[in-house]
Amino acid sequence: MDDRQLRQVIVAALREIAPEITDDELDDHRPLRRQVDLDSIDWLRFLVDLHERLQVDIPEVDYPQLSSVAELIAYLRARL
């Protein structure tokens, strides 16, 4: 899976929680949770969704490495 496909998976998982977001208004380098207004329950649901789509486990200690879409892509790429 390349980075573009990974981004598509991330956006699809985000849209399950925030259906109003669109591809082009999502800035890959801005803090994701603030940009999309995800609270801790949304965030956990989003990670569970990613886990189900990609079979990647994301421990809590890794949350600080996942602040933006770009960071998420890099993190997931390294674990697929």
Binding site: D39, I41, R45, V48, P59
Partner: protein, 378 residues
């Protein structure tokens, strides 16, 4: 024969509009089954029936607005009814999915759901819309108006929700003499304990601090029952257990406070699963009537939004609301007398002074603090 009436769906709701019946005359119904979808000022609600029987006659027609307590259907008791037809498995569709299907002009009956128990999900609808053959365009079809959405537009919904919140909050501030207390609580033990627990669990069973806090509130209320119940007709009626209303903000604005039942008696993992389910269904617009009406206290948590503390407005006829701010690392004097950087949370209580005094409220916040110091016992 028994009558099925429109149940109360919250303190400020005196009527509801029937969107759709999910039952037909002659069909057997079971206690707890969702039988109708009713629109209130705040949301579309899946209304459940509270007894077993066989549907006799449906009296309310879709689109009709009826007052709370109005007889909507006649239900035959199992002994008076002719043998009931057994229906095939009913298609499960949330109100949000129903709306999306109407917007997309899709026939729900033709869609195979891939969600839980075969539920039709929003993704199923998008897939069906994307994959559907493009109809032969005729001049008439091209100029036909889009199918009307099942409910009001999001703007209408937001405006009526704003009015419902305004009515409830104005009534509260007019009638209830609030008093307010706050206490900053060390969360060092709770954070350490939960971090260790979560490290050993798969992501699907991960528990958030919000669930730990809810459980601690329920346990604390068992020790200070004067804050849990209703003020009705000039008297306090305590409730036997805490049914916790959870203030949930909606993405399109506004908020709704559905109920988590019997929190004290449930394992933490169950509380977490129900919390997550309730939040996602509240935001998707598919709550059940049993989750709307009977909270005995409310908890509001603005920690994720970064506020330090908040003081809620009581939802009548409840007599208290508990607020949590963010989990913040603050300087703290430890038991050994040293100053350390410690995760803390400021918990608050707004309570009805007709029913309790500050002393009682303080006992509750102390009990809450005590429970959060021994999370393994929750």
């Amino acid at each position: 024969m028994r009558e099925f009436t429109l149940p109360s769906l919250g303190a400020e709701m005196d009527s509801g509009k029937l969107i759709e019946w999910l039952i037909k005359p002659g069909e057997a119904v079971q206690k707890g089954q969702v039988v109708a979808i009713v629109e209130t000022t705040k949301a579309e609600i899946d209304v459940e029936i509270w007894f077993d029987g066989v549907v006799g006659e449906l009296l309310t027609v879709p689109g009709e607005t009826v007052p709370v307590g109005a007889v909507m259907a006649k239900i035959l008791t199992p002994d008076e009814a002719p043998p009931a037809r057994t229906e095939g498995v009913r298609q499960r569709v949330s109100p949000a999915a129903r709306r999306r299907a109407a917007e997309l002009g899709l026939d729900l009956g033709a869609i195979v759901g891939t969600g839980e128990q075969g539920a039709v999900t929003l993704a199923d609808l998008d897939a069906a819309a994307a994959g559907r053959p493009v109809p032969q365009a005729t001049a008439a079809a091209a100029s036909a108006p889009r199918p009307a959405p099942a409910a009001g537009t999001p703007d209408d919904r937001y405006a009526s929700m704003r009015q419902a919140i305004a009515a409830a909050m104005s009534r509260s501030k007019r009638e209830i003499p609030h008093y307010y207390l706050a206490q900053t609580i060390s969360m060092a033990r709770a954070v350490d304990w939960l971090t260790a627990q979560n490290a050993a669990r798969p992501i699907t069973e991960r528990v958030l601090m919000a669930a730990v806090q809810l459980k601690a509130v329920a346990r604390g209320l068992a020790e200070v029952p004067e804050l849990n119940g209703f003020f009705i007709d000039g008297a306090f009626r305590p409730a036997p257990v805490a049914q916790i209303g959870l203030a949930i903000s909606l993405r399109q604005g506004g908020l709704i406070a559905p109920t988590l039942h019997d929190v004290a008696a449930k394992p933490l993992v169950t509380v977490m699963a129900e919390l997550s389910d309730l939040v996602s269904r509240a935001r998707a617009g598919s709550l059940r009537s049993s989750e709307i009406a009977d909270a005995t206290i409310t908890v509001t948590n603005l920690g994720d939004q970064g506020v330090d503390s908040l003081f809620g407005v009581i939802i009548a006829p409840q007599v208290a609301i508990v607020g949590f701010g963010r989990l913040a690392v603050r300087p703290w004097v430890t038991e050994a007398g040293n100053v350390a950087a410690v995760p803390t949370v400021t918990a608050s209580l707004s309570a009805d002074h007709r029913v309790s005094d500050g002393h009682t409220g303080a006992r509750f916040l102390n009990a809450l603090d005590d429970w959060l110091q021994r999370p393994e016992d929750l």
